[in-house]
């Protein structure tokens, strides 16, 4: 009888899909993920030894695991919760927008994207900055469009608050987690007064100054929000503010000092 070798070759089988993640888990090389509540609903949060590596809307676990493997070249397996040192800070970020001090695993990020995310991570809750501001902050003025792309590809939305970076004209722009509309939901949850802001930007106002301190700010900066209405000056550009004798705020840095 011939054909026996061919039939033996047909006995070759693909390993079951859970076996590779299982092997990497056994040797301690798999990443892990847990499901956590967030302002936008349940999310998958994946983490490595170095920090949070991925945040995505919770859906089909197998789909998330496959996409993770494809994107990072590493297996990810379910865990009950993030490690204790991460759990509390992650939950504060997801539930309340308090995003400071969460370690993010930079593996797979370009230097540019890592710089963009570091800059966005420094924007306080309830405040927003334009794409061009991030570009200038990271020493790449004029790269606002690339900043937009980097933020749209943010692997860890909510944890790195890319939703706080918006278009100069006051429109919110793209968002990396679900619908673009989610950006508005998050900023409102953080206390941003969206209607008041839109009233300013629709009139072309981009900066607010205090006639008392002679300092001007991005309108959402905590210092700008404290300016009494009678002492408030409105500017369309840093040049206009400078000509009026105002200097830029050191916290929200509307222009290089």
């Amino acid at each position: 009888m011939t054909g026996l070798p061919e039939h033996l070759a047909d006995l070759r089988a693909a390993a079951p899909p859970h076996l590779l993640p299982g092997v990497l888990h056994r040797v301690g090389l798999a990443d892990h993920y847990a499901i956590r509540p967030s302002i936008l609903g349940p999310v998958f949060v994946a983490f490595t030894r170095r920090g949070v590596s991925r945040v995505d809307l919770a859906g089909d676990p197998a789909g998330f695991e496959a996409a993770y493997l494809a994107r990072f070249g590493r297996a990810v397996v379910p865990a009950d919760a993030p490690p204790p040192r991460l759990a509390a800070t992650v939950d504060r970020a997801l539930g309340a927008g308090r995003t400071r001090g969460i370690p993010v695993d930079p593996a797979g990020l370009s230097e540019f994207q890592a710089a963009v995310l570091r800059s966005a991570a420094g924007i306080p809750p309830g405040e927003i900055r334009p794409y061009a501001w991030v570009a200038r902050e990271i020493g790449r003025p004029g790269s606002g469009r690339a900043v937009g792309n980097a933020l749209a590809a943010n692997p860890v939305p909510l944890v790195v608050p890319c939703h706080r970076v918006v278009r100069a004209d006051g429109r919110f722009g793209r968002y990396s987690l679900g619908a673009d509309e989610s950006k508005r939901v998050l900023l409102a949850a953080e206390g941003l007064e969206i209607e008041a802001l839109e009233a300013l930007t629709s009139r072309g106002v981009r900066y607010l100054g205090s006639a008392t301190t002679r300092i001007y700010c991005h309108p959402t900066c905590r210092h700008a929000r404290r300016i009494t209405a009678s002492r408030r000056a409105e500017f369309r550009s840093p040049g206009e503010a400078a000509r009026a004798g105002f200097r830029p705020c050191r916290d929200c840095r509307p222009a290089t000092a």
């Binding site: 054909g3 026996l4 070759r12 693909a14 079951p16 797979g108």
Partner: protein, 187 residues
């Protein structure tokens, strides 16, 4: 970051950064190791455990070896040295305990239609895997590694610690024995 290219580039990558390259090693070899273990042991539960254990041992060994040695490894035959040994021990333990190891999943998948397939099917080839399990260990190992996992004779010889000539004759005699078993069933 992630080294590109096939398994040829892996020894150097493993020597440079074990943790970065090890997942690539597992991806490159896991289907072959699992398939071989499945046909050597006759059931998927044992095959999965052996596969996990083999890669775990490989990972630990890579941590003990000096980088120069890792860089020179012939990875497939090396992993199979570990896996074949685990398979042999497990098969022996099962036999000693008198356990039946074949499960339905391990049986032949739907054969491609054709005269060969029909001949094998009429000979009861749903149990080709079962016939494999009846071969004496050296022949079974040689046949499975040669024809199921597709290893060259030299790599099989290294993995099983037997001379190449012996491996070739084990493959040959194993196939003969399988044919005899299939014919007996047919007759």
């Amino acid at each position: 970051m992630r080294p590109r290219g096939g398994i040829e580039a892996l020894p150097a990558a493993l020597a440079a950064d074990r943790d970065a390259a090890f997942p690539l090693l597992v991806r490159a070899l896991i289907d072959g190791v699992y398939s071989g273990a499945l046909r050597l042991l006759g059931n998927s539960a044992d095959a999965e455990e052996v596969t996990q254990e083999a890669f775990l041992r490989a990972y630990r060994a890579l941590g003990r070896y000096p980088a120069a040695r890792v860089g020179e490894l012939r990875l497939r035959e090396w992993v199979w040295t570990i896996a074949a040994n685990l398979c042999r021990n497990r098969a022996r333990d099962r036999r000693r305990r008198g356990e039946e190891t074949l499960d339905p999943e391990a049986a032949l998948p739907d054969p491609a239609p054709g005269p060969e397939a029909r001949a094998l099917a009429s000979a009861g080839s749903g149990a080709l895997a079962a016939h494999l399990a009846r071969l004496p260990w050296p022949q079974r190992a040689a046949v499975v590694l040669r024809h199921v996992t597709g290893l060259p004779h030299a790599e099989i010889a290294a993995a099983l610690g037997r001379p190449v000539g012996t491996v070739k004759s084990d493959v040959h005699r194993g196939l003969q024995q399988l044919r005899r078993q299939l014919e007996e069933e047919e007759g």
